[in-house]
Symmetry: C2
Subunit: 338 residues, 2 copies
């Protein structure tokens, strides 16, 4: 990076003069227009950019806040992250935390590439979201200069906040069982983290232990259209299906068209529940309105934020894990029985 000094040398003036000119103080300090012109030209030619750290160190004096780096995967889970972020923002405001949130996108499984040493040093704390198994292994195998908290991933080494994956899976199972259902199905995307498998396993386990069939599992792309097509396949291949668990809200929303076209009534023989990971307020007005296991993303975000504050402030803060409970919201797709 070119510095003010190099420009000064090139222009045959002092660093002081260069600094003044670059900060638009030529007028008030009466720098000659010629000098100004020359310096500006050279700065542009050399591609000068201020070193923000030096500027900050000199001007800011102290700092105003803690910088938190949030690593998140920029893929279809974007809607989820949105609620998560709003949860962080809300908590920062609520607790008047001096936090500055910096987003750092990364590719699933490539956390290692994104977690540069210099990047870590430029923040006070790190929140890792959506870590894949490979990412967790990387975290486990290395030491880092700043405190790290995991969102929705289990860990022995790092503090973490998770949702109650077991309940997320068992609740729909219990409900379908109590409604006398026998032939369950699951529509899911490829699992992106272990929690998804836990949810599915607990659903299957609950179904079995309540005397239902082993759930039929259909896997699709994370789009509404794919949810739609997959649901159609499921119903063609397994017409006996009487209850469906959608592992993502978007898949359930996509499927509505199928139910409408096949004239499947709600309430009726078929019931379904979706795990609602999105920010859509649309699930309550669609037809049928979705029964959902509502993921408490804001609560998780809030806990992550507060845990981070404690972690940064408390020397020798111990690894802690917090499980946030989930809510079930019955609506038309699986109405409560009196």
């Amino acid at each position: 990076m070119v510095t003010i000094k190099e420009i000064a040398r090139e222009a045959n003036v002092s660093p002081t003069t260069v600094s003044l000119i670059l900060n638009h103080k030529s007028k008030e300090r009466k720098i000659s227009p010629l000098t100004e012109q020359k310096v500006l030209e050279i700065a542009a030619r050399m591609g000068y950019l201020p070193n923000l750290q030096a500027v900050g160190l000199k001007k800011g004096g102290g700092q105003f806040s803690y910088r938190i780096l949030v690593f998140w995967v920029a893929d279809t889970r974007a809607h989820t992250m949105l609620r998560f972020f709003r949860g962080i923002e809300a908590t920062i405001e609520e607790d008047s935390l001096p936090f500055e949130i910096l987003l750092q996108p990364y590719k699933a499984g490539a956390l290692q590439t994104a977690m540069k040493q210099e990047l870590l040093l430029s923040c006070h704390g790190v929140l890792v979201c959506n870590a894949a198994e490979a990412d967790l292994e990387y975290l486990d195998a290395n030491q880092f200069p700043r405190p790290i908290i995991l969102y929705n991933r289990y860990s022995k080494k790092y503090s973490n906040v998770v949702m109650d994956d077991r309940s997320i899976g068992s609740i729909p199972g219990e409900i379908f069982a109590s409604h006398g259902k026998k032939h369950p199905a699951v529509i899911t995307t490829l699992p992106t983290f272990s929690g998804m498998s836990i949810r599915r396993n607990l659903f299957a386990y609950t179904c079995r232990s309540r005397g239902m069939d082993e759930p039929v599992v259909y896997c699709c792309q994370p789009t509404g259209r794919s949810g739609c097509e997959t649901t159609l396949q499921l119903l063609e291949n397994h017409p006996e299906t009487d209850c469906i668990l959608y592992m993502r809200e978007g898949l359930a929303l996509g499927s509505l068209r199928v139910f409408s076209e096949l004239r499947i009534p709600f309430p009726g023989k078929l019931e379904f529940i979706a795990i609602a990971d999105s920010a859509l307020d649309f699930s309550e007005v669609c037809i049928p309105a979705l029964s959902v296991v509502y993921l408490p993303l804001e609560a998780v975000a809030s806990e992550c934020t507060r845990m981070m504050y404690r972690q940064i402030h408390t020397a020798g803060y111990k690894v802690t894990s917090k499980v946030i409970p989930v809510t079930y919201i019955p609506r038309e797709s699986c109405p409560d029985k009196g």
Copy 2:
């Protein structure tokens, strides 16, 4: 902020020792455990936090990238911002730009509060999104130390990238007219920026000039539920309505329940078009699938990003304005006529 020096004084050791201890180098440098303990304790008690700017200045040597601050309003427009962000990320990757994107939420109309001098100095460029009128006035009335680009707002003072608001309004008008519609309606939220008014005005203008009625306008909250209720009211009060423009996609999605319950068929007498500002891929599978004026958020983001790069790199870069065209996508709610 407490510094390493102050801790050193308090602990009766040198700053060097404190630095070593705080950087977990006690072992390799054989600092006595007593000293370590003492310093750690004092640091914790005094609430020490490293000054990242100083750390960065010393360690990083140079910098690795340009830091861009994105001011955005954390409200219901969150979905829009999501697509916008992905557009930025995609362009950064595509062009291999050395950009670091920092999100700075702010409240509509309170940009002034968020735009602290120290914050601006800590970045290389600023992208202001969702500015309200008051925010634009603030920007116009003041000078800033870093280049500023406006997203989707017109300005004489700052470079900006806007969507073609006139077409966004006129396209639906032209289409309804060509389908022989006579009684248009608009369902909107309160306008949050001048572009929304332009869209509405152009729609009304197009309707009038094509011999249709003046559009009936209904205003609602930015939720699916409110869109649903408002549509019901509209149809009760104005049963003659034969075409509707929804100013937000979420309002149209919310209204689907009404059409279904009133057994209004598509295709049929009634047609509607939505301005699609969201990231939902759901509009193509809902019933009826939505005809939309699709806002080119990714293209806008891409242009903002590239413009920022030029702005930062080119001394004396002039104020430029770029208009991004929109696309119309016909679907079931307003099918194309042969």
